[in-house]
Structure formats: structure tokens, C-alpha cells
């Protein structure tokens, strides 16, 4: 009972922190935009007003993307950590980001686009994530142990890494630069018109995740015990990988690979809420994951007047020491 009250209190605290960081994000840019401008930009938009235009076209999409990417990557990281029973697993452990990177590299550095549209890079990244998601799903049908699956994912990563290196040697300086910038991740390239589709997929992913709560709760006991409790390991594996690919795929497509969030946040959530109940962990990951990326991006936005920091570098700078701190605390 005490634990229940404690967790409710924690949810409340983290929700407050999330709200505060959202407000902080909205007002951390170089140009000061008032609350009423934000309000009008959504409900009473005047395209002549510069501030409203910035709010609508840049700030709000960027904030929304930070919320979705933080929450989505954290949830999928948690899924992978439970599935592989390994706190070092993350959303990219199965090579979903490798797929995106490979296809984006092809698009950028060979001029050979898979889809000649305005946002060819996004479609390439999305297709890459889906293709690699399916490859790993296909493997998961035949592979018996989770460890072998993990190794296959890592090998896919090395393999694509090698191909990308080869592509890089043939590409021009300009192509190389734009690819490198893509790999650094960015929340700024999302457009308002793309938000509905991203949001719908995100909400769909959350809805599907609810069906993983029970199987993952059982899976912490190990594969053998889970089977004996009536769990179909293969179905669960496919469902978990599928939902992770959905989250990681859509986020990587629009933001590039964002490091560390999906690895650090689920570990933080587990040690803060001290539970193995995945329903509670999902809520915790949404709150803390979103907060983590919103704060990171708010700081980046604030520093933009002096320096352009890539989100990838920044999440690692905050995330790595945080994770070390947790590990040290746990070992005590």
C-alpha cells in the first residue's frame, strides 16, 4: 500500500516536471514568443504575424516531436530490455536504426532515391526501418534463443555500418556532410503537416503496447517459466519487436537516430518506481522520457544563439553520467 501511494506521488511529481519543462521549452528560443501568440497560432492563426508563424511552423512541431520521440524511444527501450533481459538493450539494439541509416545513406550519397518526393530522406529512413524490422522479425521466427537474436541484430548493424563506410568513400564532401548531420539527429526538421501522421502512429503504438503489459510482466521470470504459465514466446517476441520497430522507425525517420534516451530512461524509470509492473513502467517512461528530451532540446534551443549542438551529442552528455550514477547506486 505504501508503495502504491509512493508511486502515485511520483507520477504527480514527474507530471509537474514535464509540464514545467514544456513551458521552459516554449520560452527557451531566441525570439520571445508570448503565451497569447502560442494560443493564437493554434486557434486563431494569423499568417501575417511573424511570432505566430514561428510558433506554428517551428516551435510547436519541434516540441511535439521532442515529446513523442522521448516517450516512444523510452518505451521501446524498455520493451527491448525486458525482452532480452538485459539493461543494456535499447530501441536500436535490433538494428532498426541501421536500416534507416543505410537507406538514408543510399538516398543522400548515391543520388539514387527510393522515393522521389519532397521528403525523400524521411521515406528512405522509414522504409529502411521497416525493411530491417521485417528482417529481424523473420529471424525471430526461426531463432530459438533471445541471445542469438540479439547477436543477429548487432551483426546487421556492423554489416550496414561497413556498407555505409564504403558509400562514404565514394561520396562528395557535401553529401558526406549532410549525411553526418542526419546521423547527429535533429528535432527541427518536422513540419506541422507531418505531425498528425506521427501522432496517430505514436498513439497507435501506445494502444498496442497495452497488450504487452501482461506478457512482459511474466517474461521477467525467464523464458521457461513464461511458457509454463501459458505464454507463447514467439507471438510475444514478434509483437514486441513489431511495436518497437514502429516507434523507433517513425522517430528515426523524422529525427534521425537519437542516442541514449532509449537506453538511459528505462533504467532510470525502473530504479525510480522500483517495480516490474510494465503498466506502471510504460507511464513512467512516457513521463520521464518526454521530460528528458524536452529539457535536452530546450537547453539546445537556448544555446542556439551561441552554438549549434546536435541532439545526439547532448543526450549522451546528460545520459551517460546519469546512467553511471544509477549503476553505482545500485551496486551499493
Amino acid at each position: 500500500m505504501i508503495a502504491k501511494k509512493r508511486n502515485l506521488f511520483l507520477y504527480f511529481v514527474f507530471f509537474l516536471i514535464l509540464i514545467i519543462s514544456i513551458i521552459g521549452h516554449l520560452f527557451s528560443g531566441q525570439i520571445n514568443i508570448s503565451f497569447s501568440d502560442y494560443f493564437d497560432s493554434i486557434f486563431n492563426f494569423d499568417s501575417e504575424n511573424m511570432n505566430q508563424l514561428i510558433a506554428r511552423e517551428f516551435r510547436i512541431p519541434r516540441l511535439t516531436m521532442a515529446l513523442i520521440a522521448g516517450a516512444g524511444l523510452s518505451i521501446s527501450g524498455m520493451f527491448m530490455q525486458t525482452l532480452f533481459n538485459n539493461p543494456l538493450a535499447g530501441p536500436y539494439v535490433l538494428g532498426i536504426n541501421s536500416g534507416s541509416s543505410l537507406f538514408v545513406a543510399f538516398t543522400m550519397m548515391t543520388g539514387l532515391s527510393f522515393f522521389q518526393t519532397d521528403f525523400g530522406i524521411i521515406t528512405s529512413a522509414l522504409i529502411g526501418a521497416l525493411v530491417f524490422g521485417f528482417i529481424i522479425l523473420a529471424f525471430s521466427l526461426f531463432v530459438k534463443s533471445h541471445i542469438s537474436l540479439l547477436l543477429i541484430g548487432l551483426m546487421l548493424g556492423s554489416f550496414t555500418g561497413a556498407i555505409i563506410s564504403i558509400l562514404q568513400t565514394f561520396s562528395s564532401a557535401q553529401e558526406l556532410k549532410s549525411f553526418t548531420i542526419w546521423t547527429m539527429g535533429s528535432l527541427q526538421h518536422v513540419q506541422l503537416s507531418q505531425l498528425p501522421i506521427i501522432s496517430i502512429i505514436f498513439i497507435l503504438g501506445i494502444g498496442l503496447s497495452l497488450f504487452l503489459i501482461k506478457p512482459l510482466n511474466i517474461l521477467v521470470l525467464g523464458e521457461k517459466s513464461s511458457v509454463i504459465l501459458g505464454l507463447n514466446i514467439k507471438t510475444i517476441r514478434i509483437a514486441t519487436i513489431g511495436i518497437t520497430a514502429l516507434f523507433a522507425g517513425i522517430i528515426t525517420a523524422f529525427c534521425g537516430p537519437i542516442a541514449f534516451v532509449g537506453l538511459a530512461v528505462p533504467n532510470i524509470v525502473r530504479s525510480v518506481f522500483k517495480t516490474q509492473s510494465h503498466g506502471k513502467l510504460i507511464v513512467g517512461n512516457i513521463f520521464i522520457g518526454a521530460t528528458f528530451l524536452v529539457i535536452s532540446d530546450a537547453i539546445i534551443q537556448f544555446l542556439e544563439q551561441w552554438i549549434q549542438l546536435p541532439i545526439n551529442a547532448f543526450t549522451s552528455i546528460i545520459g551517460a553520467p546519469l546512467l553511471i550514477l544509477i549503476v553505482l547506486k545500485r551496486l551499493k
Binding site: A3, F211, K214, N217, V220, K224, L229, G230, L231, S271
Partner: protein
């Protein structure tokens, strides 16, 4: 409860043969045999992790092969020789996972589930540490908690793979007494593998030995001596 008919059990070659045997409710059976004699394989066959090489196995006179995973989980509970505990998993949460075969898609606990969980906790007198983390228990406590999880599963059959292997002598005696009590009071069919021949002989446990020579599984008479067990099972 569990009926074997001309069963052949093993991996590529046959390790254990069971021409005919019926294990019934309200009884507890200790499975004894040398290392590598196929005790674990036999238990794995009963829980359907391993299929039979030949013959037929019936649970409640229904063929073993026709059960779905969920149906089987409502018939047989299984306790591994060692439960290591899971970080941040409390005893009560762990025991509640035993209700998985009965709960809905989201794992929500109903009244029946909550009652089964609290009954299991009461039967094993775990009330004082139900809020503890499973990682912070002693080996003996953890084994009791694992048995409580199996009890919460409310199955007529409980299978345990060497449940006493990691316990000290006092805890071994207590565990075997607890299992015997549960078999009688809750009318369950309990089968466990063990090397504690003396402890099993001292209580009202029926002994199954894998005959070392012809690989047949023998149900021993209640007045069997340790000497005979050693001769049949270990060739000493």
C-alpha cells in the same frame, strides 16, 4: 491424474520407459535416480517442454498433446530448482503472476485471483514478507515463495525440479513437510525430483525410481529400504 501408457522419454535415445503408471491426486511422489538418468527430462515431458518419443500421456484422461498452452497452465504448475529473484519484483507481485492463465489480456486481477493469491500466501505463512523484493530473500524463503506462486496457479498438479537442491538440511526437511501437507490438504498431485533419499523415506512420500538397468520407472512399495533404492537406482 497423470496417466502414462507405454511412454518412452528421452532426447535421441530413450532415457526412461514407463509401461504403465497412474499418479493420483492427494499424493506426493519423489522421483529418484542417478545423474543423467532422465529425471529432468521426464519432468520436462510432463510439462510439455519436451515431447514424448513414444506412447501416450494423459492428464485427467485427456491426451497431453491436445492441450493448449493456456489449458495446460491451468492443469500443471512448475517450480524450477532455483528461483533467483528478480530486481524490484515483490513477493506478492511474483505470486500474482501465477494467476496469468486466468486473467484477461491486460492481466487484471479479479476477486477469484486476489483470493487465490492471499490463500497461497496464508498456506505458506508468507504474510510477513509479501511486500519484500524477491531478490532480497534467502534461498529457503525464495523456494517457499516459488511454491506459493505454483499454489496460486490453482492447478491439480505441481511439478518441482529438485526443489531441495540449494537448501540447507533444516530447510530441506521443512520444504518436504510443507509439500506433503499441501498434497494432502489441498488434494494435489505433487511430483518432485530429489536426491534426498532419507528425507523421502521418513515421510509418507511415494518413491519413483528410474531403474538403472532396464530404464523402467518403478513405483516402489511403501516399505522399501534405502538399500534397495540404492541397488535399483544407482547399482550400488
Amino acid at each position: 491424474m497423470i496417466t502414462f501408457n507405454k511412454c518412452e522419454i528421452g532426447y535421441k535415445s530413450v532415457l526412461v520407459r514407463i509401461p504403465e503408471l497412474n499418479l493420483s491426486a492427494g499424493h506426493i511422489y519423489a522421483l529418484i535416480g542417478a545423474n543423467g538418468s532422465g529425471k529432468s527430462t521426464l519432468l520436462n515431458t510432463i510439462i510439455n517442454k519436451k515431447s514424448l518419443l513414444g506412447g501416450e500421456l494423459f492428464i485427467d484422461s485427456k491426451s497431453h498433446a491436445t492441450f493448449s498452452a493456456k489449458e495446460l497452465a491451468q492443469k500443471i504448475a512448475y517450480v524450477e530448482s532455483k528461483f533467483d529473484g528478480v530486481e524490484y519484483l515483490t513477493v506478492e507481485q511474483y505470486i500474482s503472476l501465477g494467476r496469468a492463465p486466468y486473467t484477461d489480456a491486460f492481466g487484471r486481477l479479479g476477486e477469484d485471483d486476489i483470493k487465490a493469491i492471499s490463500d497461497a500466501i496464508t498456506i505458506l505463512s508468507l504474510n510477513s514478507f509479501k511486500d519484500k523484493y524477491t531478490l532480497n530473500l534467502s534461498d529457503g524463503e525464495r523456494q517457499l515463495v516459488a511454491i506459493a506462486r505454483a499454489l496460486a496457479q490453482a492447478t491439480p498438479i505441481i511439478i518441482l525440479d529438485e526443489p531441495t537442491a540449494f537448501l540447507d538440511y533444516g530447510n530441506r526437511i521443512k520444504l518436504i513437510q510443507t509439500l506433503t501437507k499441501i498434497a494432502l490438504q489441498e488434494n494435489k498431485c505433487i511430483v518432485f525430483s530429489s536426491h534426498d533419499i532419507e528425507l523421502c523415506l521418513d515421510s509418507s512420500i511415494q518413491i519413483l525410481i528410474v531403474n538403472q538397468q532396464d530404464k523402467n520407472l518403478e513405483l516402489c512399495a511403501s516399505d522399501i529400504t534405502k538399500k534397495e533404492i540404492l541397488r535399483i537406482g544407482f547399482g550400488i
